[in-house]
Amino acid sequence: MMGDRCACFHRFGFVSFLLAIVILTGCQNRQPPPPEPQDIVARSAARMESLASFRFLIERQGEPAFLDQEQTLSFRRTEGYFVAPDRAWAVVRVIAPGLVAEVQVIGIGEDYWETQLLTNAWQRLPRGQGFNPALLFDPRTGFTPILQQDLSGLQLSGMETLDAFPGKTFYALSGKLDGKRVYDLSYGLMGPAEMDVRLWIEPEIFNLARVILFEPSLAGEGRTWQMDFWDYNQDLSVDPPAASPPLP
């Protein structure tokens, strides 16, 4: 009698244990599924458009991307910050044969200033000339709307971490980007052929942390562009340079 009661008690315990596992597993499964890749990108684009400011870094690896027709000056990296709606300051690093140099640039709308290579003196350039970072991140015509509109074949590859953003996990997405509009926007540095794209977007707040564009090349190793964004909504400002000679 005692043995039956004991066996019954054990059986009850085992069933309870199984039940607990099923309930816990069920609870885990009830986590909301991740949004659709297109939805993640759309929300991220909306988030970027709503930001008051952010810092950015654009870096090229692989084949050079020339800034001049003579193919002597190639773009290496630029780092700076954007202040909505149309102001940006950046330092652009360029590589010439046997020489690495930096110029500072300021863009306010379509107005553009850059420092001279040897004297560091500010000079204002005519509209349409130079590497204006303000136009690059214009909320209407800049990189973010292009990302939203010209992306295809988007896939969510899972959650990933990035070395440059310790302690954070991101949605990692991949797809293809039509390079025509990026070509115009980047002063001919990127595109115009279709590019492989990877994006890392922060869950819940949808901050865009990193974009990597890969341009395959028939001739060489190809070219990789990495863009990082951070320090969102900081108190930053961009003003015209204090002293710059008038337009030539």
């Binding site: 690495v100 140099a101 040897l118 004297t119 560091n120 003196a121 000079q123 440059a164 310790p166």
Partner: protein, 538 residues
Amino acid sequence: MKNSSAALRIALISLPIFIGALDVTVVSAVLPQVIYDLEIPLQSGLDDAAWLVSGYLLSYSIAMTFMGRLSDWAGRRRTYLAALIIFALGSYLVAVADQWLSRLAWQVVYLLTQTRVDPAQLSLNVMIAARMIQAFGGGAMVPVGMALAGDLYPPEKVARPLGLIAAVDTAGWVVGHLYGGVLTRFFDWRVIFWLNLPVCALAFGLIWIALKPVDRHGGGRGDLHTPPEKLNPGVSKGAARGFRMDWLGAFMISACLAFFNLGLGSSPDLTASLSDIQRQPWLERALPFLALALLSLALFIWRQSRHPFPLVPLTLFRQQNFSPALAANLMIGFSLFTAIAGVPVFVNTLAAKTLQQGAWDSGWLLSALTVPMAAASLPGGWLAAKLGYRFPSLLGLLLAVVGFSQMLTWQIATPYALMVPHLALAGIGFGLTMAPAAAAVLNASPPGERGAASALVIVFRLVGMTAGVSTLASYGVYRADALSLQWLSGSAQAVDLIHMGMQIALQVLHETFGIAALICGLAFFPIMLLQNIELKKG
């Protein structure tokens, strides 16, 4: 100990000393390629990159001031091998500085400060730190080697091995730029540092075995030829009984040299604005550091006069000829390194078409300076023995001044063939002066203190060299700023920037060569103070 085995040990310890000295100048020829590969911007990073040379010289000099004395306490073999390991570790760290080491440093800086530093600038800083580690080991081997010579040879015979170690050290930095130029013609510049590792490993094994008997016979650890009470007569035997390392003194002399270097090397960025330069001129930037250097030096001297085991026996400075000869060595080091650092700048900025060609051209062109210098040191020593110190030294300084004056005529289109005789003239001049100036210091020292005296000759020359390269970098950048603002003001679009940049570089180089000639001329004064005492035997 038999003479042959002692000579073998001296030969063995000379090999790493040679490699360490080689790395003093090895970077001067390949520096433009390193700057380019690390992507250091011309405007903001040029004066920082000069620290790859001056940082090495600084750390090398610092190690030389106290590591010999440390080996009295820790043992010659142990200290020498530790220095060798530090040198090898530093070489490895330089070779990987812009690779995993910089990535790791970036992560650490980000975790500590939450700021994303420029990877290029960080790579440069990591490499400078690695070069300084390397230099500390390289510099430490010299005085420990000299102290070892003091253990292996009796006082009357020690001058020859000491001279050999000093000559090996000089030979190293004399051929360093050529070695760097040749290697980078065929390989990546990192190979220079990778190659140090097998040499160090081999040397470690051989020296480990060769110096075992020296340890058994008490090399270091109080087995000094000069008892402490003799090193500092003001201290009683009782106070000098147990050896105490003067760490505070070591700190003070290190601080003095570091502040001195920071002061001379303080400059604005290459593209500082006129208001930046006007707001804080060079002297104003340099003065606080130079004042701190002077204060540290005063404290060091005060400390040395009281410590029972001084790092630098101050009694030496009371000897006839000692101080003027060291002052001459300092000035020679300054002028010499202005040429050693200036010629690669000239070649890379104005003559060479590619950086690789620039490294190669700089390497062999500098040999036109250093090989005649090494060759002329023999007649310099011979003339000093026959005619006294003054005549060959003054003749040498005169030739060096004439050589530098000819270098002031260099133009962008000047062919190398015309530069060679000018450099050779300066080199012969330095060679004729260096040997008598070093001999004057050695001969002014009592036999038991010749190790310390030999080390001081090298330290003073190194301090002069460090000052030379720092001045070249800071003055050069400062003048380039001023000239750019003066010559390029107004319609910048119409100006051929590259051509104008070359003209500015040429003007700045002319001015620095002029300064070198002036310092050479000033060295006439301490040389005139040298007394032609009879040369001592050995």
